[in-house]
């Protein structure tokens, strides 16, 4: 009995000791990749730009405040015929093992997205177990992914975090951008209409200066990163950009809006009143009339008045309901603009086809082959918006109205 037990223990310890920790990765041997940029070079190869965190310069509060002498991130780039090759080639430059599990941002160059599309390299991200599926994807706008990834940013020391946070808060407060993960893009492209949206990002300023430490030592950085527009992806390729109202309208239809402001005209003054949304919900439903598909969009929004540049007496209930009508009109206009632009590009970014498939699976089989080319561009969309003003801030009348009365 006893020698058996010893045998068991020996048997158990040998593999444990022999195993020698195959998958072990010490923290000091890891190069944590915060963001990855993918571009297309002129000779048709992929250019991979990796933004690697220098931990000591980001979190170095304790050992004599680092961060000032050296930048918080280091950039390595490499080219290759495919992603894996480029990534492995980059290893010859980095002193550590490239570690992608904390890559929260994938930046795709505009050229690559337009010419070759996202589909070709996305599999590498999907297949690799290290990558997060929740990684956010952005497309550069009027710049290359390399320049975007190289840019140093103040406040949020890691540029990838700055991009993510910018996206998140601009979606919450402004509503003209949308945070999409790699997985969402993939799922969208698998759906029958093969269409998706990805937020755009651009670099304002001098690309050469952006990667220098000087850029974050200025109180007014010369080069900054800014969210800019929404890219329309069709069959994996970038076909068009949506800006301003159209971008906002897209976000409205996708029901991804988390807060925005709507300016309405009042008494001939342009954009005189700012309306802040608080709660909103958009419902899309599809019908079939006489074999012709149609979509109805129903948006309901509640919000408050943020600013009035003209004297208005909102103690009057009628005024409020007129304002609500104005708000409805503006939202309706945005939505319509978005749909028109999508229809001209024959790209059903809103998932209307998917909606029809869900509700009328039998008819969908008939519509499917010609959906993007025939049915969607001609689709009749019925938009209804219900807007409510619930609060008006701390005051009722604007102080402008008192000034006017005094005059």
């Amino acid at each position: 009995m006893k020698h058996k037990l010893v045998f068991l223990i020996v048997l158990m310890t040998i593999p444990v000791l022999l195993s020698g920790c195959w998958s072990k990765k010490e923290l000091t041997d890891l190069a944590i990749v915060a963001a990855m940029g993918v571009d297309k070079t002129d000779d048709g190869k992929y250019l991979l730009t990796l933004q690697i965190i220098n931990p000591g310069n980001v979190a170095g509060g304790m050992r004599g405040g680092g961060g000032s002498q050296s930048p918080p991130v280091t950039i390595y780039s490499a080219t290759g015929d495919n992603m894996v090759e480029a990534s492995r080639r980059a290893s010859s430059k980095a002193s550590r093992r490239l570690y992608y599990a904390h890559t929260n941002l994938v930046v795709v160059g505009e050229n690559l997205a337009r010419e070759e599309g996202l589909t070709t390299f996305i599999d590498a991200i999907d297949r690799d177990h290290e990558f997060r599926v929740t990684t956010t994807m952005v497309i550069t706008h009027q710049t290359t992914a390399e320049e975007l990834v190289k840019t140093l940013t103040p406040v949020d020391k890691i540029p990838a975090n700055k991009v993510l946070k910018t996206l998140e808060f601009s979606q919450k407060k402004w509503g003209e951008s949308i945070k999409t993960s790699v997985q969402e893009v993939m799922t969208d492209m698998q759906s029958p209409d093969e269409v998706s949206v990805v937020s755009g990002f651009r670099l304002l300023g001098n690309p050469n200066h952006a990667s220098q430490l000087g850029n974050i030592q200025e109180s007014e950085p010369e080069s900054i990163l800014q969210a800019s527009g929404i890219a329309m992806i069709k069959e994996g390729k970038l076909v068009d950009w949506l800006y301003g109202g159209a971008a906002k309208g897209t976000v409205w239809i996708l029901d991804e809006i988390q807060g925005t402001t709507i300016n309405i005209d009042w008494k001939n003054k342009k954009e005189a009143i700012a309306y802040q949304t608080v709660r909103q919900k958009t419902k899309v439903s599809g019908q079939l009339k006489n074999g012709q598909p149609s979509i109805s969009i129903h948006t309901r929004v509640e919000g408050s008045i943020g600013e009035m540049n003209v004297p208005v007496d909102i103690t009057d209930v009628k005024v409020i309901s007129r304002m609500e009508e104005e708000v409805e009109k503006v939202i309706k206009k945005d939505i319509k603009k978005a749909i028109e632009q999508a229809q001209t590009n024959k790209a059903d970014i809103f998932g209307f086809g998917e909606e029809i498939r869900r509700t009328r699976p039998d008819d969908w089989k008939r519509l499917k082959p010609m959906w993007n080319d025939v049915y969607f561009p001609e689709l009749k969309v019925d938009i209804t918006v219900e807007a409510y003003i619930r609060q008006a801030g701390l005051r009722n009348k604007s102080f402008l109205s008192t000034i006017e009365e005094n005059q």
Binding site: S23, K25, T28, A59, H102
Partner: protein
Amino acid sequence: MSSFFKGRKPKKNRQRDAENQAAVQSEDHIQESLSANLDVIRQKTGNSSDIVVRHLKMGRNSDVKSAIVYIEGIVNNQSIQEFLLQSMMKVDDKEKLNRDDALELISEDMMSVGNVSSFNTWEDLFLSLMAGDTLVLVDGIAKVLSACTKGGEKRAISESTTQMVVRGPKGAFTESIDTNTSMVRRIIKTPDLWMESLKVGRVTKTDVTLMYIHGIANDQIVKEVRQRLNKIDIDSILESGYIEQLIEDQTMTPFPTIFNTERPDVVAGNLFEGRIAIFVDGTPFVLIAPAVFIQFFQSAEDYYVRYDIATSVRLLRILMFFISLIAPATFVAVTTFHQEMVPTTLIVAIAAQREAVPFPGFVEALLMELTFEILREAGIRLPKAIGSAVSIVGALVIGQAAVQASIVSPAMVIIVSITAIASFATPSFDMAISVRLLRFLFMIGAATFGFYGIILILLMMVVHLCSLRSFGVPYMAPFAPFTPVNNGDTFIRLPWWTLRQRPRLISANTVREGKNQRPGPPASRGMVNRDFKEGGNNEA
């Protein structure tokens, strides 16, 4: 008590014969000659200086020679003085005495001590002499009288030092077995509190007392305990730990399968759950068997404070148990295998701390844990005055210098400190010490296979725990096998009125409370039934 011992005697005699054949030569009976007897006593004890022999002459002509023999220090001098010497030396009594009925007269008339017995074998004589009795020998009679004069210096009952409570009785057991059993007897006033005594240890002849409540304890378990105790054949028993290691079900386990305590109220509480207490002379630690896993997380106070408090404290202890078991292992696993689980900012912070540390994570953790164990051990062994110096040095070494010298990272210091504090929260020292051991196993698992290593060792531990038994009772009861009614007093403690049953696998008689013990105000004082005059209104 004596009947039990007699049952064993023949066997013991035989052993003794075999050993001492040359010396005693089968002369195991006391002789008639007083001087010969005294010579034997002197010879057997090697003329030890603490043996006192007082010669007395009694009888009408002072012709009856007699002697009193006792051992200095373990007898109560006062009672020898007052009840033996004084009464035996009184003149008028001396007169009556003659050779033939001397012993009867002495025992019936002269000795005013409670417990007097007589024997005629050397073995009994020495047993009783060494236990602190006083022997009376009379010339010409091949018998000896023994008067119970046990006494000597004892430690007074003091407050418990190992199992402290805020609320609850303070007194702890002492080194004297009689004091200890009497303390429990004083709590449980029933004739059903049965005790069986036996002497264990060939040389030390240590008193061991088995205590249980007849009718509540399971007879089979009592029988099992008795059997195992009888099987012990060892020269000495110096502490109850000897007994524990000789009677436990399995020795190849880090987990304690017998509970020990130095609190009489804990013993009483366990007796009422049908368990058996084993008192050992010379130690304040009383063994309690059978023990189950969850018992080591229960403190006496849990039963004295209200149930909601007790439950939360117990849950906290279980949490602490797991923290002290796997916190360092988890840290090693996360930082060397599963960095993706940690939020980016945190992993960057940890990585920044580790930049300058030359060791791999596992070595770092091992280093710190070992340092801590060394400090703890040193702190216990050192005299109190120096002990505090150790903790100062330790705090400086662990807390400051090691970090500044870039030998360890601050995060590791935090983990080790949490682990250390958590390991102190387990009420039972035995369980805490086995966790200390297992922690290293978990760390090795984590260092080689990350979380997979941890879960493998956890699975092994669970399987091992489930395979353990304590005197036939599954160690993980009442979880596995699951006994729903007994789960009210495990991770949680329900109010007393719901705990109507004793542990089913341990106790023979499970019902311990009457029905409807739920307290409540009399109906007339409540908001409802204000007009209900008849019932339960005590106030005039």
